[in-house]
């Protein structure tokens, strides 16, 4: 198709706007780092307490000796385990609650209470019941994600069009067929937004769990750094955490794009 000059102009404008926004985004980051470094150098802020970009970079170099990849590996493993377990178990529970209205009504008040309970309060109980270690951390992550998963996935199921259910029933469909043919495929977009929320929550749970019990992992490094006043270590670990969380979010976003392409 031949584009008119007007359309070309429109596209150029659109692209310029995009570049401008990206440039500003990077600019803000650079400005922030620059000011931080500058203030630390001229002594407006104390770089022992506030750290500074250059000290963090130096810390990255030294992290190799701290077995940083072991720490990253452990945290990522805990996070992925928590994320996967809570998504799978939560979805299965949501299916059960969709299936049985009675069960749904019975469990409703419990879900409401558990949802509003700050799960960190269960920390001591978890440690005593499952032991202080990776198990406790994964349990914490699962507890934080699973209630939200159940509630959101179930709401997705229940928002399916009554008319479509009626249509399937009139064809003689049983409950299982309604689940497979309508409810599950219909809920995929909602399910993906649940995944996105869970990525964030799984990180919250994992780091919280590590604060409580761990002997290794990024959460452990942050706590340890805080206790021995090595703020460079705290900052460097936080930066790594930022990168990892972003990567995991992007992974989900890629899955979403794939599915959307298939479904349009």
């Amino acid at each position: 198709m031949k584009n008119s000059d007007l359309h070309r102009q429109f596209i150029r404008k659109h692209r310029n706007n995009k570049i401008k926004i990206l440039a500003c985004q990077i600019g803000v980051l650079i400005l922030f780092l620059f000011l931080w470094e500058l203030f630390a150098r001229i002594g407006i802020i104390d770089d022992f307490i506030m750290s500074s970009p250059s000290r963090i970079i130096k810390m990255f170099g030294a992290l190799g000796e701290q077995h940083i990849f072991k720490h990253i590996g452990i945290t990522v493993l805990e996070c992925i385990l928590g994320f996967t377990l809570s998504t799978v178990i939560g979805s299965l529970i949501a299916i059960a609650l969709w299936w049985s209205v009675t069960l749904r009504k019975i469990l409703e008040p419990y879900l409401v209470v558990l949802n509003s309970l700050p799960k960190i309060a269960l920390g001591p109980i978890i440690i005593i019941w499952v032991g202080a270690g990776m198990k406790a951390i994964v349990t914490m992550a699962v507890l934080i994600c699973i209630i939200v998963t159940i509630i959101s996935v179930l709401n997705g199921f229940l928002s399916a069009d009554e008319g479509k259910i009626l249509l399937l029933q009139s064809m003689g469909a049983n409950k299982f067929q309604i689940l497979i043919k309508l409810i599950l495929p219909y809920s995929i977009p909602n399910f993906i937004s649940v995944l996105k929320i869970n990525v964030g929550l799984a990180w919250v749970g994992t780091i919280m769990g590590e604060y409580l019990v761990s002997a290794a992992g990024l959460g452990y490094l942050i706590i340890y750094g805080g206790q021995v006043f090595k703020l460079d270590l705290v900052m460097a670990s936080t930066v790594i955490l930022c990168i990892l969380a972003t990567l995991m979010y992007l992974a989900v976003a890629i899955v979403e794009k794939r599915i959307n392409k298939k479904r349009r």
Partner: protein
């Protein structure tokens, strides 16, 4: 041959605030290939009759027979067409059309081939691989009709099937659907609040009263069996419209 028979059917809905009698002593029968329209004031329980025929709800009293066999539960003998087309957005037109076959576990190669033939025959062959959102409202409604035809139901139930369409499209889709139903020699039960739609399509018109709905009258307009659009041009069309309208609002 008698395709559908409703015998002394009554229905009472139960709710915490009390009982609501929706239908009272509904008796009528539909013979093979007939096109019946049910009209009545809104909220009188027209749709309830379709739910009863499809077996989705059971009557409080009386019985319903399809081909002489009593209806107890949904069994794939009826093809339900709803107000909105209810095509599944994530399925292609082709796969939407065979939905009923999959549900009835009749998705054999011949049956699927039959569904594809229907698509070809009624001008949707080029859209087999398209998704519903790529089709116009009229084409979507036609796809919905083919979906109900593909598993060869005994009776088609049309529940305000055209009322979600704009007027222009609605006239065309009415014509289209009527044409297909007649070509496939299907028996159809149409529920509508649009009297002109009923008069233009039906062989027989059943007029229901206010709730609890009873049959006030059954009319057999002496209009020629032609397409709905042609019927609207008949000189006696407005006479019949008038008769039915007065009966409904009486």
């Amino acid at each position: 041959m008698e395709k559908l028979k409703m015998k002394d059917v009554s229905l009472t809905y139960q709710s915490l605030s009390g009982e609501t009698k929706a239908l009272e002593d509904i008796t009528f029968s539909v013979s093979d290939g007939e096109f019946i329209a049910i009209v009545g004031p809104s909220g009188c329980g027209k749709t309830t009759i379709l739910s009863l025929v499809s077996g989705l709800i059971a009557p409080s009293e009386g019985e319903i027979f399809i081909n002489g066999e009593p209806v107890r539960k949904p069994n794939g003998k009826v093809g339900y067409m709803l107000q909105r087309d209810q095509l599944f957005e994530w399925r292609t037109i082709e796969s939407n059309v065979i939905l009923g076959l999959e549900i009835c576990k009749k998705a054999t190669r011949e049956n699927k081939e039959y569904a594809r033939e229907l698509l070809e025959k009624y001008g949707l062959g080029d859209f087999k691989k398209s998704f519903p959102n790529e089709l116009s409202g009229g084409m979507r409604q036609r796809a919905a009709l083919i979906r109900t035809l593909s598993f060869r139901p005994e009776i088609l139930l049309l529940d305000e099937a055209f009322s979600a369409l704009d007027f222009q499209t609605r006239l065309a889709v009415c014509d289209d659907v009527y044409d297909i139903i007649k070509k496939e020699k299907k028996t159809a039960l149409l529920v509508t609040h649009d009297i002109s739609e009923a008069v233009s399509m039906a062989d027989k018109i059943i007029v229901l009263s206010q709730r609890p709905a009873k049959i006030k009258n059954i009319y057999t307009p002496d209009l020629p069996v032609v397409s709905p659009l042609k019927r609207r041009e008949e000189p006696t069309f407005s006479k019949w419209f008038d008769i039915i309208w007065k009966e409904v609002s009486k």
